[in-house]
């Protein structure tokens, strides 16, 4: 009941910014409504799925939900990176899947050891957090990688014509992509606690968890997100290799939608 009271209060409070947007003729109403609807839809679906997975406590719906979540993550990355859906859905899904699997496997012991009442539903937040954390870094790095190949490929051809294999000639672009994948994570890590809220830590503290445990959880998730992004970038680039270079080493990408 208390949750609904808080929700009603915050909806009333939302009236102030909405009034401000109307009063100052910002023209933001459509954006606000669109963002609000998207959030409601996503959170609604997510919470319904999580509810049933916890109720059923069965591994198969949990796996199915995880695959759907990763598929959705891959599509979000493709849209943000402006890449062609049909060509890049497999490499990006592979990158997202492998990184989520590896990072989640590393994080899972925290749940298993720390919670005796563990059920399948408790693993879902890990997949969901890791998947959402990799979106920004991976989309930025892949966007840079493919637009670089399309628009700044003269060094690639120079190296190829001078005896490099196509994989060797792409090394410099891979280096740039990995650097790009690091950037949002470094920024986030450096500002965590000040301009970026450590949501996990505060949420756990609010739920009466030990502050040290909450801090460790936050630390593990932050580092997991960084390594997940880099792993996803490397795997996606590796898997996509034969889609972008033909038998003669010529770049054949058509990345924009």
């Amino acid at each position: 009941m208390t949750y609904y009271i808080s929700l009603i209060l915050i909806l009333l409070f939302l009236g102030i910014p909405l009034f401000a947007a109307y009063h100052y003729k910002t023209g933001m109403h459509r954006h606000i409504i669109s963002a609000f609807s998207k959030m409601l839809l996503r959170l609604g679906i997510l919470s319904i799925c999580t509810y049933y997975i916890i109720v059923w406590n069965n591994i198969f719906p949990a796996i199915l939900f995880t695959i759907l979540l990763i598929g959705y993550t891959a599509i979000t990355i493709l849209v943000k990176a402006r890449l062609k859906m049909r060509t890049y859905i497999i490499p990006i899904s592979a990158g997202a899947f492998i990184s989520v699997a590896i990072v989640s496997a590393c994080i899972s012991p925290l749940f298993i050891i720390g919670n005796n009442n563990l059920n399948i539903g408790h693993l879902l937040p890990i997949f969901a957090i890791v998947a959402s954390e990799i979106v920004e870094g991976l989309s930025k790095s892949l966007s840079m990688y493919y637009s670089g190949l399309r628009n700044h490929n003269q060094l690639y051809y120079y190296l190829l014509y001078n005896g490099a294999s196509s994989s060797e000639a792409l090394q410099y672009m891979k280096r740039q992509a990995i650097k790009k994948a690091f950037v949002p994570n470094i920024l986030k890590t450096a500002s965590l606690g000040v301009s970026v809220t450590p949501v996990i830590m505060w949420a756990m503290t609010m739920c009466s968890e030990n502050a040290i445990n909450a801090f460790l959880f936050q630390l593990v998730f932050t580092l997991g997100a960084m390594s997940g992004t880099i792993i996803a970038t490397i795997v996606s680039i590796y898997v996509a290799h034969h889609y972008i270079v033909d038998d003669y080493g010529k770049i054949v990408i058509t990345p924009t939608k």
Binding site: Y158, N162, G163, A164, G249
Partner: protein, 205 residues
Amino acid sequence: MINAKIRASQDTYIEDVTFSASSGDILAITGGTNTSRNAILLSILGILPLERGCVSIDCEPVIKQTSAFYRQKTAFLPTNLDFGEEKVEDVLNYELNLKANKDMKYSREEITDELRQLAVPAEVLSKSFKALDKPVTQRIALAMAGLQRRKILILDNPTKYQDEDGTLSIMSYLCSSQMKEIAIVTATEDPAILSVCNKVVKLNN
């Protein structure tokens, strides 16, 4: 290259191109258009397949399956050298650390000496290509191609961006003693470069 027919562009074909070059030769491909001369060079590298005829290096055909191997025996200077923000020494490292160059050892002195021969100061190594003008970039790329000490050196318009001094330094570089064991194939219209070539293949316009 024997009796080659090459598709240079959508509706342009070059036919009956035949030439050979051995070590010490400087062979110029001249006449025709930039596209057609470039197409011949790419065919030697096995990047552009022939419609007819054959290309061979050391009496072995350069075909799709073998082209990557033969590119390890050739060094190439392209016309387009927009390497963006990359630093000169980084690009040099990419190139000199290729598997194709794994048997070569390069000292800093060798690199600066190669640059000096082409009138390029050693300070450029720490600069990005974006900060350099086209003539210097072209001479750096030529030095990088020469440093690899490959048996065949293929040059596409090596003096396209050069002034008189730049052209002179390139001519002197191509005629230097270190090039005596190398076969040089160049696409050019520059009379200065043509004057140092001992073989000329003239394409019809």
